[in-house]
């Protein structure tokens, strides 16, 4: 995935962050990635921003089921239960 044998540039690195965090980078690429961030404040800050973005997204709560949809679903369950009991 990383073109040149030697190193990875900052512009390439920002496109590899998700593969890195997901554990999907091949071993060699992973080493180059880690070597780069160890020496680069900009990319270190970038990855930290991505981590904080993920953490903050986790703070968002999902909306509740709408009452009408809930009623319809409960009615369908009741029907299923009766069919089964019969």
């Amino acid at each position: 995935m990383i073109g040149r044998a030697g190193s990875v540039t900052c512009r390439e690195l920002v496109e590899l962050v998700t593969d890195y965090l997901e554990g999907a980078l091949p071993r060699g690429d992973r080493k180059r990635f880690e070597r780069h961030i160890a020496a680069c404040d900009g990319c270190t800050a970038y990855i930290e921003q991505i981590r904080l973005t993920i953490a903050a997204t986790g703070e968002l709560k999902e909306e509740e089921i709408e009452p009408a949809a809930r009623e319809a679903l409960l009615a369908a369950f009741r029907g299923w239960n009766q069919d089964r009991g019969a």
Partner: protein, 183 residues
């Protein structure tokens, strides 16, 4: 479930029917569940299949697979290219010209920042929006999301990458407005 169904069928009432049918199919078929995947994965596979069939019958103009494919291959970079040095820079081509700043946790979990985050997610294309919701809001695994949405692992990751990159950029635009003048 309703949101996942609506990726396949446009009409909300039809999507609600699909969700109901899915639950009934789950209840009727639970004895046949073999535990080879998680229960969640199994339920969402039933949902996806049913929704897809209904979507085809409904004649959606854009097939679902095309929606994912288009979003996974659009070429927008994670970070504006103007933030980096050019290829001709004598020492460090493609390094940061305008590097990001360090954020603190306190900064990103204020109510205002979370509002910005929520609208940034709302504005994402549908497949990206669903992937980031399931992964980062609801905490599903990559495998569960790929199965529920019927995409490959690679495409799941590409969609997640685009979604997170855009949301980060939106947060930066709010927290460090001077950084994003080029966007």
């Amino acid at each position: 479930m309703l949101r996942v169904a609506r990726l396949h069928v446009r009409d909300r009432a039809v999507a609600e029917e699909v969700v109901q049918e899915t639950w009934l199919a789950v209840l009727n078929g639970i004895d046949r569940f073999e535990g080879r995947s998680s229960l969640k994965t199994w339920i969402f596979r039933i949902l996806s299949n049913r929704a897809k069939t209904r979507g085809e019958r409904e004649g959606r103009s854009v097939p679902f697979s095309a929606l994912f494919a288009a979003e996974a291959t659009d070429g927008e970079p994670a970070v504006d290219v103007d933030r980096f040095l050019g290829p001709d820079h004598p020492r460090t081509p493609y390094a940061w010209a305008n590097p990001p700043r360090a954020w603190t946790q306190e900064q990103v979990i204020t109510r205002e920042t979370l509002d910005v985050l929520r609208s940034a997610i709302e504005e994402l294309p549908p497949a990206q929006r669903e992937v980031i919701r399931l992964r980062d809001i609801e905490g599903w695994s990559a495998e569960e999301v790929a199965a529920a949405l019927d995409v490959t692992d690679v495409n799941q990751r590409v969609l997640l990458h685009r979604a997170r990159s855009r949301v980060r950029a939106a947060l930066e635009c709010y927290l460090d407005p001077e950084m994003e003048q080029a966007r």
